[in-house]
Amino acid sequence: MKTDLTGAMRYTELNDEELSEINSRMHLGLSLEEMLRIKTYFTNLNREPTELELQSLAQAWSEHSGYKSSRNYLKKFIFGLAKEKIFYQGDAGLVSFNDKLAVALKIESHNHPSAIEPYGGAATGVGGILRDILSMGAQPVAVSDVLFFGKRSKKGFPSPRFIEEGVVAGIRDYGNRVGIPTVSGGIFYSNDFVPNVLVNVGCVGIVEKDKVLGSSVSKPGIKLIIAGGKTGRDGIHGVNMASSVIEKGKEDATTVQLGNPIVKEPLIHAVLEANDRGLISALKDLGGGGLSSVIGEMLLAGNVGGSIYLDRVPLKEMNMRPWEIWISESQERMLLAVEEKNVEDVMDIMDQWDVTAAIIGESEAGESEAGDHLKIFYKGEAVMDLDLEFLTSTPLYYRSYRQVKKNAETTLPRYPGNLNKILLKMLEDPNIRTKEFAVRQYDHTVRGSTVIGPFSGKVSIEGPTDASIIRPSWDYNEGLAISHGVNPFYSRLDPYRGAKAAVDEAVRNIVSSGSEPLAMSDCINAGNPEKPEVMGEFVQMLQGLRDSASVLEIPYVSGNVSFYNETGKTRIPTVPTILITGKIERLDHSLTPDLKGIGNPIYAIGPPAYEMGGSLYYRMLGIKRSPVPDSDPNVLKDRKNRFLEAAKEKLILSSHDVSEGGMAVALAEMTIGSGIGMELDFSSFSLRADVTVFSETQSRFVVEVAKGSERRFEEIMGSQAMLLGYTSENFRALRGEERIFDLSVEKIRNKWKVGYQ
């Protein structure tokens, strides 16, 4: 075996300084400790590592692929919660949907690529998450995207507007072209995301339970087929980039990829057809680290070894070095493990769909005591022969952490008087007002299965919805609800409560559509994990995710951690974005927020409390320190159960969850899609009027109930339900003597629709 690929130097004889030098020259991104571990390994083997072996280890041991800073804590806090509800876990997680079908879901960040090149970063983010769902053998049925942009420009970085337009265009061009509806998401604006923007992309898929694919190759002689896009130099070292802090001006154009949805679209069809016919034994997508990350894991999982012939990989460009082929992150590629007898049929299906495919190697019997080996050849020459155990033994760290106590005193501002004006200002706040300028560029009806989309109401005046509902199979009258939860403003002040609020909002959104929550996927965004205060926030956040989910008994079936979202002195708060799915037994039970008729009672479910930290109201007033609303998952669970019982009896006509801007914004938003107003009286609440209507106390809803069903509704809801008033023509509210709101519904709608005409 050729061993001098790292240059004339002999790796096993290098001193610490030389090792560090090699590390940075080869862009390995390893720590000295890890470099030394490799040195020991090869010294014991009595040979030098090849260039490809070093690159391969660097990929496998990167933060991005190996979760080396997070895995220990994830295990401790959130893995295994509500385990009995998980159907299967792989690149995406699955829960049972009905007797025959399972739902796959996953959310992932594409923050670093999007900060460098927003269009391609977001597009390949969609591409990547689709592959995760596909790799379970599932048909993707919906895409969601949650975006976080800065407001002001920073010298040396692209303007927030440029980034936003690029990201939205990337999601549009990729999602629309592959033909999977983008139905859910959110856009947040805060200077915490200057210049570190966050792009969190989720996907939900559906699969027949007996067609779920795993990723382990468990016997020798299985052929490995690469299908889809060709392999090029693009994306090399992307993984290492996502595992370090962005340095201004150091963006590397060779890692930029734009994605090619027109290669992905037929690839999805071809893979699903082959799976449908039972021809695939195991499947994995090629993401970060490329072939190097995938093949070792597939073989190790099934306790076999294997041989790979890199010269058989279809290439985009000639004269690529073997290690470049091995770690390339070119898009749109899948790796199929196929039994010899099925190979011809699989290749035939690929050809039918015009998809490039090639057999690049096979699994082999393990090599006894030495462990299972992965051997790689290039033009007849061995370029790697590593013990799989060693290759995949990413070092895991318990990084030290420090929890900074942020004591916040309650501060009540002077009573502002004109609440009308404040409400109008809230409605046109970029975080509240319609996101239609972006969302209406996303095809949300493709596949003809969108039952509730991002907007609902009368045609041309639609307002927002809380969750989207997809009919995953036309053969069933059941709906799959999809939504998300996240609050970067709370998380910044209080990572623990912020995380609980994210789960609370996710669950609220699903319940508000009339659905029962099934499963969540968490996408965690944070700064540099080598800093104790970042790890401190990370741990607090995980405690929050745990405390909510364990009471609610909703599992996190998949997730993703993105560290190093920091530049110079600025870093993002530790924010978890929760993707959630739910189920509704009958499509015609679906609920939307737009009011349905005049004279119906309006109820609040759950009372407001004096909890304003991080709220839209306090942010508008510039109050920075105050306790963040704390979600009590027991309360939420109780309300969820009562709510869904009332919904099943069709007592509820429309529903909206109370989130940013409190009851005032929630109620106002219900008028947008209907042209119907309400006559309300908040006198029964003892809090000050502004706190009553703008408080963001968790676990609450506002609903329109069918006239005549008040008694039954109150019976089910118990003390949770408070009558606020009745639907009518305008939006008016009293609090004692004071008329706090008096607005026409057109005025509300025009404010909310600012920026989208």
Binding site: F162, E251, V256, L258, G259, N260
Partner: protein, 78 residues
């Protein structure tokens, strides 16, 4: 009155999905001699006053992304 012609193309190192699709289509139509297709956009801009340097500003401020694009500014002759 200046007339500028600005051409925005993808850098050579960035894959051109559109160009690949066009090349495939031309080959399927029987033009086997097509080797490579690269695509780009042209903007023909009429200005009251102004010169090439203003075109450069259009490139950097709106029309192109320097991470992935090349942008060329010429006087438009047609």
């Amino acid at each position: 009155m200046a007339k500028l012609r600005i051409t925005v193309t993808l850098k050579g190192s960035v894959e051109d999905a559109e160009g690949q699709s066009v090349a495939k289509a031309l080959k399927l139509l029987g033009y086997k001699n097509v080797d490579e297709v690269r695509t780009g956009k042209v903007y023909r801009i009429k200005l009251k006053g102004g010169d090439l340097s203003e075109g450069e500003e259009f490139c950097s401020k709106l029309l192109s992304n320097p991470v992935i694009n090349d942008c060329k500014v010429e006087f438009d002759e047609d």
